[in-house]
Structure formats: C-alpha cells, structure tokens
Symmetry: C2
C-alpha cells in the first residue's frame, strides 16, 4: 500500500500530454492552448473614439471655461466602420461615434453630453485634454507581440481575444478517450427491478458524467461478466482503442477479482495495487505502452473519490493542464469526525462560508456505498494518514466538489 502523494507521483511520471490538433476556436472552449499566439495587427488598428461625441484638436480648448466657450464648425460625421479622408483643422470638429476612427489632425473627443450644438456650430465650454476618450493605435497590443501563452486555458474571453486577433482556429491538446469496463455479476440495468442479490449499475453513469465534465471522450464497454476470458478480451480491446482505461470492481482480493491477474498476463506494467486512501484502497495502476489502466473499487463512493483524486489529474495532464490537485483551503470543523490512522481520509461534508471562513458540517454515513451522503455534500475535508479522530474546532484542509 502506498500513500496518495506517491501514487500521484507515479501516475504523473507515466502520463504524457497528447498530440496537438487544430480546431475552430469555439470547439476549443475550456481546453488548453498548445501554441503561443502572436498578434498579427496593432489593436486597435487606428486611433479610435471611446465615446459618442466630437473629434477636435485639444489645443483649441486651452482657454475654455463656462464663460468662454470655444466654437467649432462641424464638418461632418464619422460612424464606426467609416474612414475619414479629410484632415481636421483648427476650429473644426467632426461628430464621431463610439468605435469610429479619429480623423487625421484630431487628438481628442468630447462626449456628446458635454457640448452644445446649434446647426453646424459646436460649442465647448471646458478644457479637453489630449487623448481624451481616445483609444490609441496599438494600445491593447502591437503587431508581433505575444498575446496568449501556450498553456493558457481558453475561456470565453480568450475566444473573443482570438477572434479579435484573426485566429479562427488554434492548436490545442487532443482530448483523451477513456474506456470504461464495469465488472460485477450483481449489476443489473437501470430499468430493471431489483431481484435478490442484485443492485443497479450506477458506476457507469457516474463515470460517464465525471469524464464528460472534464471534456474527455468516453468509450464504454458496459457491464462485463466476471468471466476471465471475456474480461481479458475486453481489456485488450479497451487498451487498443482508448488512451486511458478505467475499470470499476474486480480490484479487491476476492476469488472473482481477476483484473490484476489479467493485466500481468497481457504484459501490462503494474505500478501499484493499493493506495492509502479512504474511501478507496484497492486501486491498481498499470501502464501498457503509452496507455494507462486504472482499476478502481466498485463501491460508488470509493469509485468517485479515487477517480477524482487519481484519474482526473492524469486526464487533465493529457489535455495540457498542470498535473495538480489544487483548490484546498482551511476548514473549521463544527463537529467531531471519527477516523482511523493509516489512510488519507476524504470525508464528505457540507461546507458553509461565513465572513470569509469555512465551516464543515456532517451530512451522513461515510460508508463507501452511500451515494446519498455524497449527494448531500458540497465538499470534503481531508484527514491526513497519520491522524485519527478529529474534534470540533480543529482546522483541516478541505475543498469543494463539483
């Protein structure tokens, strides 16, 4: 049995980023950019009005005040998308709309709300500073400047930025295909009535949802009978057709838990078979060529916990993210929690925020079967390996679950 940190190190060492693929930018949402992006233009590509108003020479207003208005002759109007060929001279103004390019000779814009207009005469009764309401050419970025770094997450703002820079497609890391092998002769389909000894297959659905939320692809082989020959074929097929294989059940020490034997038989390199995590423990991690195999426990809570703590970082790394498990913060226990020394314990709780501090409350039995408990929780607190019972008032690390 190895501890969680060691397990994560071994998984990290054996996980590589997937190759790149070029995709249209909207398909890249929430993915990781796999190239540096340089600006092809100065942005904005011209001095631009930030307001609806009048473009003038600022110098013409240097002696203005409420009693001494400067007068300008309005020569025309420039709207966004127009380009004015005329050069503005002293004493002249152009009406100008937000986003429109300043005419040559103008160096400031005064807002429409702050002027008086009579016919073609504009009156300005205040000093207007140079560059007032002007977005200068290249103010946001200049030709050839690095606009986005490789490794950035592509959020809606980056989608907009890429569009403004003229990139309709960019390179991102491919999303892995995750194959699912669900074992357990006790499993019946979701629409079945429960007969004696049977329970419904829920793990396949939880796993599909977890993987979907990560933006990876699922190849589910469904529920596989606990038959060695059949299982061997499915494992081979999964390793050939996916980047990561996740199995649920069959990883314990029971007479029908074949997964570890089969992995050895087909020549997979088994890295570990047990992790000091609760809920969890019987987790096998193996590699087969560049492929990863995770055999997770069949108990629903153990399955989801070990997936989130051990498999998720590998899927994310393949997609170009940092290999990490961040988001932990200090949480104050509001109740006692029982625990035993020996494994890192993930306790599902309700975390409430108050005045910038976080507090943990019990939500029910932490039995590894209880999806109901997890469903009532919005976070976990983590009791370290070497600690046992913890008491109300103590502070532990915790995090929210999604």
């Amino acid at each position: 049995m190895i501890d969680v940190d060691n397990a994560l190190n071994i998984i990290n060492e054996n996980t590589k980023k997937l190759p790149l693929e070029k995709k249209d930018i909207l398909s890249c949402l929430n993915k990781i950019l796999a190239e540096d992006i340089y600006s092809k233009d100065d942005l904005p590509p011209f001095d631009k009005s930030a307001m609806d108003g009048y473009a003038i020479k600022s110098d013409d207003t240097r002696n203005c005040d409420a009693e001494n208005a400067a007068e300008f002759e309005i020569k025309g109007s420039i709207k966004a998308g127009d380009y004015c060929e005329d050069e503005l001279k002293s004493g002249e103004a152009f009406k100008i709309m937000t986003g429109a390019p300043l005419p040559k000779g103008a160096d400031a814009v005064i807002e429409i709300e702050k002027v008086e207009v009579k016919g073609s005469i504009l009156k300005v009764s205040q000093i207007v500073n140079k560059d007032n309401n002007v977005v200068k050419l290249g103010e946001e970025t200049k030709v050839g400047e690095l606009a986005l770094n490789r490794g950035s997450k592509i959020r809606p703002v980056e989608i907009g930025l890429l569009a403004s820079l003229g990139y309709s497609s960019v390179n991102v890391y491919k999303s892995p295909t995750v194959a699912l092998i669900i074992t357990g002769d006790e499993l019946v389909s979701i629409d079945s009535k429960l007969k004696r000894g049977k329970i419904r297959n829920s793990n396949e659905y939880s796993l599909k949802a977890l993987i979907k939320n990560l933006g990876a692809k699922v190849l589910s082989l469904g529920v596989i009978k606990d038959d060695k020959d059949n299982l061997r074929e499915k494992i081979k097929y999964a390793l050939e057709n996916a980047d990561i294989v996740v199995s649920s059940g069959g990883a314990s020490v029971g007479d029908y838990d074949f997964i570890d034997d089969l992995l050895k038989e087909i020549g997979a390199d088994i890295k570990f078979t047990s992790v000091a995590i609760k809920p969890g423990k019987p987790v096998t991690f193996a590699t087969y060529e560049e492929k990863l195999f995770f055999s997770l426990p069949g108990n629903p809570l153990s399955l989801i916990t070990t997936f989130q703590e051990l498999v998720k970082p590998a899927i994310e790394k393949m997609m170009g993210k940092q290999f990490e498990n961040k988001g932990e913060f200090p949480v104050i226990l509001m109740e006692d929690f029982k625990a035993k020394i020996g494994r890192k314990k993930y306790i599902y709780v309700e975390i409430k925020e108050h005045d910038g501090k976080y507090y943990a409350y019990k939500v029910g039995s932490q039995s590894s079967n209880h999806l109901m408990t997890m469903s009532r929780s919005n976070g976990i607190i983590i009791i370290p390996e070497k600690c046992a019972n913890v008491k109300a008032g103590e502070v532990l690390n915790g995090k929210f679950i999604l």
Copy 2:
C-alpha cells in the same frame, strides 16, 4: 441610470423558469432537477457484505482470542450477484465476496486477511461484533423516502444516485435559446485583414462561449448592418424564435444606435436603458410578452461584464437555478486602484491566495476595449458606487471569473 441591485431586481421580477422536459439522466448533467425523486426500493435491497471475507454468526466468536480460536465449517461461497438459499447455522461459515448478500442466519463478516483457512475449516481468533462489515438493508435509503429534492443540481454523483434508484430519465427545466444580434458597421469577419476603420467581430464569439458554458442554446443572427429596417426585422425574428435576445452595440446615444427606438416601435416594454456599472452603462432591458431583451454595449470588456452580471442570472433562473450572483469573498488590495464615484466598478485583477487570504494585483488597463487585460486576469474586485480611488491594504469584495 439605475444601480446594479435595482437592475437585478427588475430582471428577476420579469424572468420565469421555463417549462419542464423529461431527459435521459446523462443529458441532465449540470442541469437543475425539476421534480422530487423518491426511492422505489430499499437500498441496499439486502444485508450486504462490505468486504471479501467469511459470513458467520457473531455469537460463535464471543469467547475467541489468540489462544482460543473458534472453528467453522465452510459450507460454500457466495459472490456478488448470487443469492444463497441455505440458512447458516452455528459453527458454519460461508466465504463471501464484497457486495454479496449475507446468507440467512449470518450477522457478521470477518475479513479474509484476518482468518486462517485449512481445507474446509475456518479459524477465527478474535471476537467479531454483530453487523461487522455488513451494510444493512435500507441503510442508505428506504422505499418511498425522498432521495433528491427538486431544485438540486445534477452533478455526477446525482447521475449515479438516480441510476442506482432506477431512474433512467427525469424532469429538468428546459434550457433557454439565446438569440444574438451583433451590430456595428465597423465589424469584419474573423478571417478578414483589417482595413481602415474596421475591427474584427469578436463579441459574437465571446457571447457564444459564455452561453455554451451556461448550458443554454445559441441562435446567432450574426452581424447586422446598422440599417433600421433590417434591424427591426431581425429583432422581431429573434424575439419570436428565442427566449432571450442579446444584442451587442447600438445601445449608446449615437446617431446609429437604433435599438431602443426599435424596441419601442415594436411594442416592447423597456424597463431601463442605463445601469450604474463600469465597464458598461448603456444597457437596455426590455420585455416582449414572456421574452427578455438585453441590449449590451459593444465594447468587448463592457459586453462580457454586463453579460455576466445581468444576463447570466436570468439565463440561470430560466433553467431553475437560484437568481443570485454569489461567490464573492474579501480580497486585500496589493496596489492602489483609481476609480470615480457614480458607478459600481468591476476591476479585472489577478487574485492570489496565500494562507487562506486573497490578494489582488493589477493586470493592465481597464479600458473597456481591452480583452487582453481580461485575459490576463483570473478575478475581479468590486468598487462600490459611492467609492472612488482605493488604496493598497484596503479590503474589497471580489470573485473569480471562469
């Protein structure tokens, strides 16, 4: 000009949850459950072994210790999915796998690692308590019990729980269709070279990405020329074919900002035309029958900010979520920030966490054109309406952006 809280109240009053639709559970991921879910079964549906081990009568071990082992005759083996018809008698044991139902008469399971087996004889050298390693019938939930509340978010754990309860589909609130109308004669397509006075259409892409992340549907009418007749037709079409219409640009006071006029002409009920928000301000909100119309400013940063603060809560409410904008927490300023009294100011910053506290650092110009600034940020700090400049060391509310 009304303040942000008033604007949100008016939007909330005019936004209704959409009707329900029944969908298969995996399609409900991240949606809001629109019905109470009751358990159809006791879960687990039988007393179940939590370990690989031996099912026995606990009473047979009452005098056991290291020197006085109790001996049992192993009568057979029960694997998950089996159902044992025999009744276990005193002095008898059944080998039992994790998840398998206990045979009648057994009341405890001792782990396989803690016993000695010779042929068909099992030796136990410790006291085993009643219910040891047994998950009791109905321990997780009982027939007819409320398992999930209407209004719950359907996360991966809820998908698993619904599957285990035998629900292959459930009722959720429909996702709204959001129509997009992008105005601005300065806009050219993403693949165009920039000619004089033109910039690329980025708002359509940012909006599509923002809406996609909320799980709503997009109906984009693309870039519409600033032509009153054309625009009127598009607005009508959008209101007929979507639940919410979002326009970008054309909401200012310029000569070519027709949106408000057209909304009046077609009989829409204009609720406000200006909000004390920065970046932002020229935001029009109108209703037309049950439909909502948001006219947002065309500057990219203003657009994204007003969408997140004003439109997102409405989209989420239609989908059954609470109308709220939570996730704010105290942030300590590490630098001075300039601001003017009068509007609620959203400043894009980098928020760093250290020892459970959050600190805000500048990332660049807050000009409402600068997507680059927003792209460098991971959060915002909020300077209230009545405040102006703020100084390093002061504490403001902030939140992360996604």
